[in-house]
Amino acid sequence: MTPLLIPTLAQTALVLVLAPLLAGVIKNWKAKLQNRRGPPVWQPYFDLLKFLRKDMVLSEHASWLFSATPYVLFLSVLIVGLMVPMLSEQPPLKWFGGALAVIGLLALGRFFLALAGLDPASAFGGMGSSREMTISAIAEPAMMLSIFTVAITAGSTNLGQIVHTVAGQSSAFLNPSHLLAFAALFIVLLAETGRVPVDNPATHLELRMIHEAMVLEYSGRYLALIEWSASMKQLVLMTLIVNIFFPAGIAADWSAASAGRALLFFVGKLLLLSGAVVLVETTNAKLRLFRVPDLLSAAFILAALALLSTFLFK
């Protein structure tokens, strides 16, 4: 078990530590691009610490489900983090699940969070839950189809195997099907992490918010877990995208030297993708809720074309 133990611990720590930082970086860069000073990149850590120490107020209408949800969400996202190849092609939990389990576990967390949104009997929570489930439902086919495309090329749903196959192709970045699937997944990423054209992560108490409305009744330790999970989910999805489509620098095993080198590459790639996200967030306005299906259907068609182009350019 020892050879597996160290990677598991390393990746767990990486997911837990890197996630708030990434959220902080995106927030900071976005502010800079909009000519604001912005919070320091370390701010999410301070926030989490503050939430953890604060008193907690639970709604009188809430049930045990409300208290269980932060744990379910946190654990499901953390397990997903252990299934995704980060530094090495061999994620610690590679036998326990591939792409389908990742999608399933994320859906599990969302399911409970949406229920917790309904639990305290507030109108905001219900609205958030309803919208979250709607948007995730129409984002799902695009996500599945683009994952199918890369999985078909690799002949496997095992994420490590997919990354390995892509890394083996010299000119994978020129492959149109990869490009299209990347575009589709990027749109899905924006939708799933509640980024600007779909949801606004910076607003509280506006009628257009989704994620923030759902978690409105949470406070204290539970809020810390939920915020942390949200940032971990963002990290995991971004990792998935960068490592599937740009596997450059990823290590084949877990030796210290190659893992260290991989870490540098990994952080660099994440920062590049964050830059793209920041750029999209700054240059676009939030869409009306009923324009979001247009965007996501575009993602779906891109994914379908990605699939088609595996024939198209044979």
């Binding site: 020129l174 490009l179 299209l180 247009d294 259907s297 074309l305 088609l308 182009s309 198209l312 044979k314």
Partner: protein
């Protein structure tokens, strides 16, 4: 020409053709007129990139000329002209398609499939970029579809130009060096004239009906 070069070029051309397709799809979903014009410019840029790549790898100077012409005409001049027209007649920015974007997207996905099916017999000629013929057909079909789906005269012009982009791509993918230069020039010139005529026409239509909705043209029947 050695083999790795050929493969690289082939990859590059396919990638650019795919990007053209993506831009075309974005045009189908995009509701803002000015953005549509910009997208057209981007698409033409990719097209001229393909032409330049073909010229480079085949050492065919006259295709360079076509690439340059596309760059000058379709990336710079025509978009500028169209934007000026839009600003000048001050028409409404948002256009109202007949079919809602998700359905339109699905249709376009279907067109791509059709293009692929039709182009299959031509895909194995071994020419550089011959496998983009399917995309070319899809682009022409989508151009036609856009023409039908949009109501404003000016957006129909834009759609016509997109269809022409598709034709150009088809010419590159089917023959080794594109169409003969004269034909190409002729087509380009025709298009330019058509643009001018349409530009004036749009102006006139607006002057007559205070709208450039082509639906109003049926009032001409008297």
């Amino acid at each position: 020409m050695n083999l790795p070069d050929f493969q690289l070029a082939s990859h590059l051309i396919v990638l650019l053709a795919t990007l053209m397709l993506v831009v075309q799809l974005l045009m189908v979903t995009q509701r803002m007129l000015i953005t549509n014009i910009r997208l057209f410019a981007v698409q033409s840029l990719f097209l001229s990139g393909i032409a330049a790549a073909v010229a480079f790898f085949h050492h065919a100077p006259h295709v360079y000329f076509m690439a340059a012409l596309t760059l000058a005409g379709k990336v710079v001049v025509l978009p500028w002209f169209l934007k000026r027209l839009v600003r000048k007649i001050g028409i409404e920015q948002e256009m109202h398609p007949w079919i809602n974007p998700p359905t339109a997207m699905l249709l376009c996905g279907g067109f791509t499939l059709l293009g692929y099916l039709v182009a299959r017999p031509f895909a194995d000629t071994g020419n550089l970029g011959s496998n983009t013929f399917g995309v070319a057909i899809a682009l022409v079909l989508m151009g036609f579809f856009l023409m039908i789906n949009r109501r404003r005269a000016i957006t129909q012009v834009l759609a016509l130009l997109c269809a022409e982009n598709g034709l150009f791509l088809a010419a590159i993918s089917l023959t080794t060096y594109g169409m003969p230069l004269v034909v190409e020039l002729g087509v380009f010139f025709d298009l330019f004239i058509a643009m001018m005529v349409l530009g004036i026409l749009v102006y006139r239509i607006r002057a007559t009906f205070a709208s450039i909705d082509v639906d109003r043209l049926n009032q001409l029947k008297g």
